[in-house]
Symmetry: C2
Subunit: 344 residues, 2 copies
């Protein structure tokens, strides 16, 4: 047992004995995301959301392909330099991933954590690198508004009304090249992770996923503080994935009940990516792509520029399917925490 | 870089510097599997395939719950002894997993590799333990004939004809407790892994998945021999997941073309679990559960009894969804190899 990699017994967290570097990353988004507050920061913005493909699913695949291509380029790497790819998406059987990254011929470890998948892929990728199983890996996740609506809710043509608690699935993909050595252009390092448990408060509303996921985010963040005996003040930002404005209120309340006030340093990717007032996105953005593109375009930029020294990044996921929803099941949540630190 | 964990550059494989022990495992299957050739070896056989639940999906969740419960019991462990659970299934958004293992409160890392998921979960679980990120983890995967037919093909009530190349999805779940120390009742150790690439030969027939997956199995097995500079003769058995009789022929031909003859030591879990002549299962069994329950009930028993010293276990997966199939996409395959050795 390598003591240094473990926190105390019963802990959900890992402190990396050997830190892992994010040596490159890239983001690609759809038209709506390009028109949002972060629009100018993304590496590529599509002119329409088909990205030259025939189906929404193919379009999402092409997002992953392009994100991986750009991230490799920015890290100065080739596909064959990557020992493994950790990848996933929201679609049944992760088909956006299978058909998106196939041609790179990188050995694939497929992951699923709903919209927390970006956190899970970084967690497993960092373990693989830190544990000496790989020198370099790449992590990629995606979502697409239209393929997600088809997968989880109603056909777009049906034109259903969306309640104000609903979030808007981000069309986008973010990819991250992790390495055991800091290379030119490295943006941040991963120093610790807190793997989330499934948390189910019995909510059943797939049009209020922020509330469904907030208890899981609170659970993971509180577990992180306990495992590391740390306080919110030690982090410049604590950033959730896609709770949106409704979920944020629940999160802050839950954490206050546990004795932690993170309100002055909490940020939610879903609330950053759109301008809810002018873009009609209601509670905010969601989807695997939401936290992934915000991390690549905005969060890593802030860290690389030295504005933030230490960030707890916590993508959040809602564990439902069309089938589980139609069968009357609840919508449990999960959230995975990754500690990102500046290289300075 | 921990040299010992890596094979040469460009390799897909890992040789574990610190070996990982399978300290307990369990299998639960449905009625049909209980009536098959391996029937007496499974830990539990259901009287009908609903397992006391209201839906097929809930039934599959209960399989995972029971497999985890029994595996923990056999390893003499409690849920809180498990730092992580690596789990997945075939259903969209892995709902069998989410609703099956939720109540154990073990931090979850969800995996998806279609029917190769058992191999992927063991690979990632072994990395987590060997890398010092966990003392104990549990890996669980499942499939269910009826939930899979609903997910991928036709409603059961439609009574579609199945071609002879079709496989029968196994109703079952297998769980494996991995640990950094060999404990009483340990059955085998994991010493190496070969992570698979996606291989697409352009086949589109979801009722001939054996042929779709065989090229991927051949790719992973050949890569394994190259990475370790080994020959088939060094393994007592080379065991694929669910190629069935059609896929087996393709696999043996492909490997012969690559210079490897494994015909005298190849076994396929899908061909072991049913008696094709009397059980009307055509080409064999399939599903995440197929390789998982065969590993727990039969393969680990042979290794523990010293009949087999070294086994290359290669679960195979077909990367399709109902959506990708209906949109005319191909059915690519993937296969992950795990080396299991006796403790003697």
């Amino acid at each position: 047992m390598s003591e240094d990699n473990l926190c105390t017994a019963g802990s959900q967290s890992v402190k990396l004995k050997k830190e892992v570097y994010i040596n490159g990353s890239a983001s690609i988004v759809g038209k709506k995301e390009g028109e949002g507050p972060l629009g100018l920061l993304f590496d590529m913005v599509g002119e329409d959301d088909m990205f030259g493909c025939k189906t929404w699913e193919e379009a999402e695949s092409s997002l992953q392909k392009d994100a991986v291509y750009m991230a490799l380029g920015k890290a100065g790497k080739k596909p064959e330099d990557m020992r493994y790819i950790f990848a996933g998406d929201l679609l049944g059987q992760s088909i956006a991933t299978s058909f998106g990254i196939m041609n790179y011929n990188i050995p694939l470890l497929g992951v699923y954590g709903a919209c927390s998948t970006c956190g899970e892929s970084l967690t497993l990728g960092a373990m693989a690198v830190s544990g000496g199983f790989a020198d370099n890996v790449i992590c990629v996740t995606s979502s697409h508004f239209a393929s997600a609506e088809k997968e989880f809710r109603f056909p777009l043509g049906y034109g259903n009304q969306r309640p104000l608690s609903a979030t808007w699935t981000v069309t986008g993909s973010g990819a991250f090249v992790l390495g055991s050595r800091q290379e030119t252009g490295a943006k941040a390092k991963i120093t610790a992770m807190t793997v989330g448990k499934i948390v189910d408060f019995g909510l059943k509303d797939s049009l209020n996923m922020g509330a469904c996921m907030a208890p899981a985010a609170a659970s993971t963040i509180a577990a992180h503080f306990i495992d590391f005996n740390s306080q919110p003040e030690e982090y410049d930002k604590i950033i959730t994935g896609d709770l949106g404005s409704v979920g944020q209120r629940v999160l802050l309340d839950f954490l206050r009940d546990k004795g932690y006030d993170i309100s002055d340093r909490h940020m939610d990717c879903g609330m950053e990516i759109y301008d809810a007032d002018t873009q009609d996105t209601h509670a905010g953005g969601s989807g695997c792509g939401c936290s992934a593109v915000t991390l690549s375009a905005y969060i890593l930029k802030q860290i690389a520029e030295g504005n933030w020294k230490k960030v707890l990044f916590v993508p959040t996921g809602a564990l439902l399917s069309k089938t589980s929803f139609n069968e009357g099941q609840t919508v449990p949540g999960i959230a995975h925490g990754v500690v990102l630190e500046s290289l300075g």
